[in-house]
Symmetry: C4
Subunit: 234 residues, 4 copies
């Protein structure tokens, strides 16, 4: 079942090592088929150079395996939670990409410090709350998803306008309309984390944020009804 | 029309990913044919691995498409403005290369801190003014070009002696007698930004600038009537 | 003798340059055959691109060559000492990987600052004592091994739960049940050193350590009887 | 003439881009034939991917071209000066490798901060004096060589024990018994500059230097009559 989607999710997973976003077996990508309410995700702990499309696992929105011989990613409950709560989301990526993890471990958002950021993220990429002992000892991966939705709700953020987050002490999740877009957002998040790190070192006393009007211009140049970047198929 | 120029501009664009200056579809290169007053530029938002010479777009000095089925780079009005104002410029490059963007976001020039810099840039690479809301809400890409010319005029800089700039909150533009030279200048600007960043961390209290006599020696060893670097064809 | 083990150790050594952990001829990997009490190790100072499985050297637990025409790694007495004192250890790696060496030279442990660390190391990766002049002038490589065991003993650490150390002024050693696992641990140690460096720069006043309950969760998600990461063959 | 030496010098030059030590056409390697008093050096400003062994230029110890159709490296007078003053030197390398240049621009030596350094350099890699205006306006490249010898003389350093230097505001020169060894020393100098940079950021208040007895141990483990690293052919 969902063979085409398995191929798509396989290719999106393989884009992680190709873009230097993963070490060893870390990281995972999923994409959902909203008609059936099922999503396809990478199996847990399998080396990328051994991975095949047939290894992809089909799970339902409760994270239960529907098809597949391998265990799905241990982060599956986080993916499922985000798919349940954010119906516009079509694909999700989790990595331990090095620059984004540095911000996650430092407990600070990735600031919207330039147009490179504004082209993809319409504002700071937020940092989720550190999980409590009860959250970690309980349904840890589910509670990770809750911590993500909570920070978006509390800050009144639109997950489709800011398609990424840092989970505290942990690392980035990104998403998008599909798995391929979510991977692109993961690439951008690591690049802007790297650039912003150096900006902060160069000018530690500066307000790093671009003016709101520049954020608006760059974001809406690429997104929405008035976008004029690209070839009109975006 | 201008088929040879399309091939040249295609190759110059492909040199950007080959030299690690771009992420995803970011960046663009153009070169002008001064006889016809037309220039050739990369189409907007096309993946580098899909790009062909035939995809290049021919535009006039007002940025209007003369030939080509794809939309030209959204930065076309910036290129056109620079070609109109600086008749010696033959090629222009824009990237979001990571080290140069860090300086652009920090709002500080790239200092002439060593001979590596002096071999290519005869002085600091300046930072353009942050655009006002009126400039961003209006003809944004045109006004970006104006901010570049303005900083060169105000500081009495020769754009052929300092063939690059940082646009504030955004990133680098470089140029040269042709597209290939402009790409080389983009490579050098990112390398000296990287080196200067580390120099500034190693010795934060130092005046980073090389003495004027060393700047003169290195710059004129490679440029002008008395150059003796290379094989005399430069 | 031990031809299969030579092939295994050869492959583990070749994984060091493939993962950017070595410069020139630096670094070495060994694996022990506990039945015979012999281990196989890289020869000293041989270029990786010239290395063959037949070049591997068989030594006993006193570090004496049992088979092989080449001199074993100069670090052989350190490997031998660790194998003698820690019977669970099956493979050992030494590198001069750049980020871990920076911490070793700075004389500070690599802090357990995130889940990336907790997945592999159940606590800070400790720093061994600086060797005294007597230790360096005497059996230097043996004494290096002693300094490693000493810091684990003094801090009551389990070498199988924290499979790595920084030798002071020098660089990392990692280990595991076999050479392949030890190489993976060397990869992880360098990555977490890199990430932690940037975390410390981003947030210098923070207590870098993850809460103990998060360390427990991530470590035991991958290790021990209740592990649920991966495919159950780990 | 000296065809075998041209091949050797060609290969040593090609090792610079292969080891990420150069950008564009920067950098050059030479090796001397002490019998004839002639040395072979890279031509000036030629792209590495166009270089052939036949392009190498033969020059005498005054830097005059003896054979070759291309101009020799503009740094030829620096090489010649070092060959004249240091008869043990057989090969010389100049690069603008990024980490070493950062120290050169900051005007500080590369400290002997660990065993990685001590294996190759028996003490800090010194920084030459900033050249005066008279030195720069006069025989600049010759005076660069003089500034190198001067710092070694003033600090009573043995150039064969510390086979490298930073020229102030400029970048590294390294040398050795032949071109291949000089290239290896250039690789090591950039790596230890990178590691030391991060060590200094991690622990800014520390005395970075390893104890003299550890410097002795590591240096003499690889060099001189009592060396025991490697296979005895070193």
């Amino acid at each position: 079942m969902l063979e085409a989607l398995k191929q798509t999710v396989y290719e999106a997973n393989m884009a992680l090592p190709a873009n230097n976003l993963v070490t060893l077996t870390w990281g995972n990508v999923s994409q959902i088929d909203r008609d059936s309410g099922l999503f396809v995700i990478k199996p847990s702990g399998v080396a990328y150079d051994k991975l095949t499309p047939a290894d992809m696992v089909v799970v339902d929105l409760d994270g239960r395996v529907v098809e597949g011989e391998l265990n799905p990613s241990s982060d599956t409950p986080t993916h499922a939670y985000l798919y349940r709560h954010w119906p516009e989301v079509g694909g999700i990526v989790h990595t331990h990409s090095k620059w984004a993890v540095a911000f996650a471990q430092a407990g600070i958002p990735v600031p919207a410090a330039g147009t490179t950021h504004a082209d993809t993220f319409y504002g700071d990429v937020p940092i989720a709350d550190r999980l409590t002992q009860a959250e970690v000892d309980g349904d840890y991966e589910l509670n990770t998803g809750q911590s993500i939705v909570r920070v978006f709700d509390r800050q009144h953020l639109d997950p489709m306008a800011i398609p990424g987050v840092l989970t505290n002490d942990h690392g980035p999740f990104t998403w998008g309309k599909d798995a391929k877009t979510a991977v692109q957002n993961a690439i951008v998040l690591d690049v802007v984390s790297e650039i912003d790190f150096h900006t902060m070192q160069l000018n530690p006393t500066q307000d790093l944020h671009v003016p709101q009007y520049l954020l608006d211009r760059h974001y809406f140049r690429k997104h929405g009804a008035h976008a004029y970047y690209g070839q009109g198929t975006h």
